[in-house]
Amino acid sequence: MDAIMLQEKLVERLLCPRVRTARQKEKQYVGFATLPNQVHRKSVKKGFDFTLMVAGESGMGKSTLVNSLFLTDLYKDRKLLNAEERINQTVEIIKHTVDIEEKGVKLKLTIVDTPGFGDAVNNNQCWKPITDYIDQQFEQYFRDESGLNRKNIQDNRVHCCLYFIPPFGHGLRPVDVEFMRALHEKVNVVPLIAKADCLTPNEIKKLKDRIREEIERFGIKVYQFPECDSDEDEEFKQMDKELKECTPFAVIGSNTVVEARGQRVRGRLYPWGIVEVENQSHCDFVKLRNMLIRSHMHDLKDVTCDVHYENYRAQCIQEMTRCVCVCVHARAKLAQDNRMESPIPILPLSTPDAETEKLIKMKDEELKRMQEMLNKMQQQMHEKDQ
């Protein structure tokens, strides 16, 4: 073996001296290894934005969890409705926007709150305001993107929706299933088990298995963590696997700081013990925070842009081209019959609603009928001529 290798090297040296110099040149430094740093610098300068939606019945601890996640108090002086006022309540959409900064990195955080969801006695279609809001944001972005001046586009699209499942039941309820199904193709849905301090570890495991099984059974496409690359280190892969097996996260939130084991931590004080929000053996809050903020925030934004928004955009354009096609088709037929030329109109940039669609279909059928009659008459004339 060695003799052959030696021979090869000899041949190389004799035949291709230039190759040797090129390889020598490769060892010199080019400089694009600093690209990640450049990206980092630019992004810090630009700042980040993130829109988070929280949805669930009232009393599930949504506000408390948001406060615990971002370590601020976003809900000062909030007015809660009485039971009587909530009998016929409709869902509102309330946005809170805050600018927070950490180590020079600026984040413009928008929390979209949905008070009134699931609170009325009749909850049919109670998620409609929410889906309308998400579609509106997509439409706004679509318009901005297709406009002429694109310098200052504000991205208000919802990047993630945290859905709070009550822990008091045996699994998902009809309103949970319907809501997630209405939203899973518009936004990244992350289901959470709220108020997890009412469940023992066994009960949590049973409930998680139940919910995972029901999510699959009902075909709900919740947000999936991206697969990690095969060349990542084992520790990361292990963490990733654990994360995936832990969904849906069972979370506890707290607005108060208590003294536990000599430290001041966020927690809830009970006569029988203290629940620590950031204790991994008490709840999955830390996992949620890591996932949402520390590792997967950008992936959530990417999936929103690449998958949900693109779906919306494709649908929108298809609707428009269908309208244009039908119009073109109709006008072409008329042109054939009447030998008239007419320009194809440019339709406005909006999705047609059900009424105009119906009208278009009707006109289409009328035209088909006229065409058939014409054909028949032509045939008759033809026969007569013969």
Binding site: I87, Q89, V121, N124, Y270, P271
Partner: protein, 452 residues
């Protein structure tokens, strides 16, 4: 002397009664007490054992108690029942996808000491799971009314056996409130309002180990204030009996009870207690500083069970009965405000009913006759129409026939003319032939003569 006073008192009484009838306001109380005077005994008679006799009799008979548990699926109704009565009432988990609210009732025979209890537990299935919960309370109200109705039917029977009757009326309703920490849900308010006049409602906060002490105080206050401001009458523990009034009034202030249920046991110290084991501590069900379970058990079973039954019978059932009978048209007094007995009302009702029946019969007969007439008219019309059409057709037929005759006639004429012409033509032809022949002959003769 004795008889004289007796006579006086009787006369006095009569006078009073007549005066009352005349409408004069008289204080009968004092006079009644005067006519029934308290007597003091000079020895031990023995009727102080009457309550014992009653107790013995009821213990032999056994007691009956019916509880209705209303709450969302999975809120802990079955677990709490198991914990309260220290047994395992077999029940399976229900699903969240029931299309309507149903009620499932199960009866159990329990025994403690020498007291037998026939316990019926009614659970709601699928409560709070539907998208549209506007009709959720209806099934519960219907169930309660059905139990009242069957008791009423039994009471109104001619041959009845009330002491053997298994009383299925709901004596207590435990309403399980979800521990959201804010306030009641809209469904809770609507349901409790519909039920407060039909059953004794005892609200409890379920799964209370998720609310901390400070939040619990606020939550309880909020719930009670919402109930009061919406006029919901929940069951108040009775405070008229001195032996239990103090404890009952204290408990009235702690409502709604925040309970935790568990059938699992955990070792605390050297005892096994019912508890829930968490990573951060152990919630003991029977520890009064952890939850109000012990208070609930005492109040519901230990102290006030009999009062709950009494209230159901004297208050809720009577209200139902009165409404039902008034609906049927029975009243205690007729329009002239004279007391009227049930029998008279019955007779009156029956006559009314008969009259109504006759009237209906008349009406039906009339409408039947009317319909027959109408049909007859219709048929006559049709007949006339047919007749006129027939005539018309006949006329047409005649006309056509006439025309055809004409044509035939004209054709015949033509044929005749033609045959005449033909005959004439033939004759002419014959003549010309002859004449031509003779002409030829003449010509020939001339020719011949010419020659000669």
């Amino acid at each position: 002397m004795c008889r004289h006073s007796l006579l006086v008192s009787t006369v006095f009484d009569l006078a009073l009664v007549t005066r009352a009838r005349a409408g004069v306001d008289v204080q009968r109380h004092a006079t009644q007490e005067k006519s029934v005077r308290p007597l003091s005994l000079s020895g031990h008679v023995g009727f102080d054992g009457l309550p014992h006799q009653l107790v013995n009799k009821s213990t032999c008979q056994g007691f009956c108690f019916n509880i209705l548990c209303i709450g969302e699926t999975g809120i802990g109704k079955s677990t709490l029942m198991n914990t309260l009565f220290n047994t395992n009432f077999e029940s399976c988990e229900s699903s969240h996808f029931e299309p309507k609210v149903k009620l499932s009732a199960k009866t159990y025979d329990l025994q403690e000491g020498n007291v037998r209890l026939k316990l019926t537990i009614v659970n709601t299935v699928g409560f709070g799971d539907q998208m549209n919960k506007q009709q959720s309370y209806q099934h519960i109200v219907d169930y309660i009314d059905t139990q009242f109705e069957s008791y009423l039917q039994e009471e109104l029977k001619i041959k009845r056996s009330l002491h053997n009757y298994h009383d299925s009326r709901i004596h207590a309703c435990l309403y399980f409130i979800a521990p959201s920490g804010h306030s009641l849900k809209s469904l809770d308010l609507v349901t409790m309002k519909k039920l407060d006049s039909k059953v004794n409602i005892i609200p409890v906060i379920a799964k209370a180990d998720t609310i901390s002490k400070s939040e619990l105080q606020k939550f309880k206050l909020k719930i009670m204030s919402e109930l009061v401001s919406n006029g919901v009458q929940i069951y108040q523990f009775p405070t008229d009996d001195e032996t239990v009034s103090s404890i009952n009034s204290a408990m009235n202030g702690i409502l709604p009870f925040a309970v935790v249920g568990s059938t699992e046991e955990v070792k605390i110290g050297n005892k096994m207690v019912k508890a829930r084991q968490y990573p951060w501590g152990v919630v003991q069900v029977e520890n009064e500083s952890h939850c109000d379970f012990v208070k609930l058990r005492e109040m519901l079973i230990g102290v006030n069970m009999e009062d709950l039954r009494e209230q159901t019978h004297t208050q809720h059932y009577e209200l139902y009965r009165r409404c039902k009978l008034e609906e049927m048209g029975f009243k205690d007094t007729d329009p002239e405000s004279k007391p009227v007995s049930l029998q008279e009302t019955y007779e009156f009702k029956r006559q009314e009913f008969q009259g109504e029946l006759q009237r209906r019969e008349e009406e039906m007969r009339q409408s039947f006759v009317q319909r027959v007439k109408e049909k007859e008219m219709e048929l006559k019309e049709k007949e006339r129409e047919l007749q006129s059409r027939f005539e018309q057709l006949k006329r047409l037929h005649q006309e056509e026939k006439g025309k055809l005759e004409e044509k035939r006639q004209s054709l015949e004429d033509e044929v005749n003319v033609f045959s005449n012409k033909k005959a004439a033509a033939e004759l002419l032809q014959g003549q010309t032939f002859n004449s031509s022949n003779s002409n030829l002959k003449k010509d020939k003769d001339r020719k011949n003569s010419g020659f000669m």
